[in-house]
């Protein structure tokens, strides 16, 4: 994949984010619409690039940090579009797209070359495990963004953001969908572990933290029923949850060593 296209993609998302920023300052809905079109264009380009990488590699290339960041960013942009089209969340896009820029920006300096797939990863269970995991993470990232915006809205009460009720609804939905997909990721991963190692749960630090992510978000699927937690507490929990996700995804690889096959 050529770096030029990657930079083009980054530029498109950067322009979309800038558009959202201008929209928050000037409050012109036409600017927000242009930003949305730019996000659309970015998603189409990113989907094409991902498809091309998949086609040339012969497998879903998500075996290194560049590839996972790229996939994560794609999933987040797609999920943002879903929520935008469903709830018209406009200015919310600024925060989500900034997060997306961080992910893509993290991928840019890395080598995009796809390497040959090692036999241990040569199974459809691997692709399922990864797809569900990163789409799940992207929903959690969305919930994190909405959580932050919920806290802003509960303090500033601005017209720019959706009302608290809608933000809460989106947050709950993102967490529920993320939890469901992450659950499927763990099911695929456990079956894979069983055929690869002969036991479906392994006590390596990455697997342990994946279970912690799962437990945390399972808890959040219930925490929303507790009336006292439905406002700020739920928003803070969404932020904390994403902290656990980030530690599981990046922290373990960067700070600790793991013998998980994807480290």
């Amino acid at each position: 994949m050529s770096k030029t296209l990657l930079y083009l993609l980054f530029a498109i998302y950067l322009m979309a984010s800038s558009g959202y920023l201008l929209h928050t300052v000037w409050r012109r809905s036409s600017i927000a619409s242009v930003s949305l079109i730019l996000v659309f264009a970015g998603v189409i380009l990113q989907t094409a690039l991902l498809g091309f990488r998949w086609w040339t590699a012969g497998y879903l290339p998500v075996t290194n940090l560049f590839a996972t960041l790229f996939f994560f960013s794609w999933a987040l942009a797609l999920i943002y579009l879903y929520f935008e089209l469903r709830y018209r969340i406009r200015a919310t896009g600024l925060f989500v797209m900034l997060l997306n820029l961080v992910l893509l920006g993290g991928a840019l300096p890395r080598d995009p070359a796809v390497s040959a797939l090692i036999p241990a990863l040569d199974t459809p269970l691997f692709s399922l495990h990864i797809i569900f995991s990163f789409v799940g993470y992207a929903f959690f990232a969305m919930a994190f963004s909405i959580g932050v915006l919920y806290l802003c809205q509960s303090r500033r009460n601005t017209q720019l953001l959706p009302d608290l009720q809608t933000l809460r609804k989106i947050n709950e939905e993102a967490i529920f969908l993320g939890f469901g997909l992450f659950t499927l990721c763990l099911v695929a991963g456990s079956i894979w572990a069983h055929v690869a190692w002969g036991h479906w749960f392994s006590w390596n630090i990455k697997s342990i933290w994946s279970v912690l992510v799962w437990m945390f978000y399972a808890g959040m699927c219930h925490a929303k029923f507790i009336r006292r937690w439905q406002g700020d507490v739920y928003a803070w929990l969404s932020i904390a949850g994403f902290g656990i996700v980030l530690f599981t995804y990046l922290g373990i690889g960067l700070l600790l060593e793991s013998n998980h096959p994807l480290e």
């Binding site: 939905e173 659950t183 690869a196 036991h199 479906w200 507790i226």
Partner: protein, 357 residues
């Protein structure tokens, strides 16, 4: 016997406590915090936790608890929290089942709950009565008994390591057969991600290596011959050469006798016997770095060492997890539950159906 009102009341309270969502959150939080801290303890104490992957929890935990109780205690504690949490989930599930007619639309959520309970049972079952063993070293043709499973034997029929042109290992293709009471019950090509699964047993390749078996020689008039322990070579009319032993690294003791000095190729030696029509003609060691022994020269045998004979061996892991089918059932429940719940989530939201606590 009929229960009096206060006993009924107490039972009801106990049941309500068992079904309580707040209890669930407390238990799940306790387990989460314990495991978070424990995972870091584990990471920074690899010497204590290294064996955890090689053994089932049921076998590993008692030994580890006796060695380092303070560092390991988080495991049984968090295990207890998860167990109580699973019982709590079971109560919720039973409570829901008792009102199934009115709440059948929530089958998705409760399939997820049921799946979690099944997974907890499967983990306990597999880790209490299962085992993990190996890696076991098997050369093609070898057959080994599986001590934990009396009557079972594992045979490696063929083994081919697959290497990249650069020599990097790619895959390990093992043709294995499982024997039960001297009857072959299953045969399979086992390689990475393709284990043999039978009766709770999972047999998979762990690694491989090469074993020095002997040496290849060139013999004028005969060509190349591989001499490995047990091989017999007919040399000329009536003479035969038998290999009794092979040492990759031969040393000498004080009496000058040849003894093994190591397993790496350094000073290879063959113990040979030369038989004639009337019996043994010569017997002794041929240390390849030294000249050919006179006994062989006199019999007109000339051996020119060419290269070592290496045969690949496979390292196989044998695990047994009697809970694996229960775990799979749990996984299927959870998967179907998630797919169902994706629909019921929106339905519940549309109808405002939501428990508030």
């Amino acid at each position: 016997m009929l229960l009096n009102n206060s006993a009924k009341n107490n039972l009801f309270k106990l049941w309500a406590f068992g079904c309580s969502l707040k209890l669930a959150i407390a238990l799940a939080s306790a387990a989460t915090l314990l495991i978070m801290g424990g995972s870091l303890v584990m990471h920074y104490n690899p010497a204590i936790f290294a064996g955890l992957e090689q053994e089932t929890m049921g076998r590993w935990l008692p030994q580890a608890m006796s060695r380092a109780p303070l560092l390991v205690a988080w495991l049984p504690l968090s295990g207890l929290c998860v167990l109580l949490f699973a019982i709590n989930t079971l109560c919720c599930l039973l409570d829901w089942l008792s009102r199934f007619r009115a709440r059948w639309r929530k089958s998705g959520e409760y399939l997820i709950h049921a799946g979690f309970i099944l997974l907890t049972i499967a983990y306990l079952w597999g880790n209490i009565s299962g085992f993990r063993s190996g890696p076991h070293r098997l050369a093609p043709g070898d057959r080994m008994s599986i001590p934990e499973m009396p009557g079972y034997q594992l045979e490696l029929e063929e083994f081919t390591p697959q290497l990249e042109p650069s020599g990097r290992p790619l895959d390990m293709v093992n043709k294995v057969a499982l024997w039960k009471n001297d009857r072959r019950v299953v045969q399979k090509i086992v390689r990475i991600n393709h284990p043999l699964i039978y009766d709770g047993l999972v047999i998979l390749p762990a690694s491989f290596g090469q074993e020095l078996r002997g040496f290849r020689f060139h013999m004028p008039g005969i060509g190349f011959v591989d001499l490995t322990p047990g091989s017999r070579l007919s040399v000329s009319s009536g003479l035969s050469l038998v290999v009794d032993n092979f040492l990759p690294d031969a040393g000498q003791d004080r009496q000058g006798r040849v003894i093994p000095a190591g397993s790496r190729l350094n000073n290879p030696a063959l113990q040979l016997s030369l038989f004639g029509p009337t019996g043994t003609i010569w017997q002794g060691w041929y240390v390849l770095r030294r000249p050919l022994p006179e006994g062989l020269v006199n019999a007109g045998i000339y051996l020119k060492p060419v290269e070592p004979v290496l045969t690949p061996f496979s390292l196989l892991t044998i695990n047994r997890d009697p809970g694996d089918k229960t775990a799979l059932a749990g996984g299927v429940c959870i998967t179907v539950g998630v797919l169902f719940a994706f629909f019921s989530f929106y339905r519940k939201r549309a109808t405002g159906d939501r428990p508030e606590i």
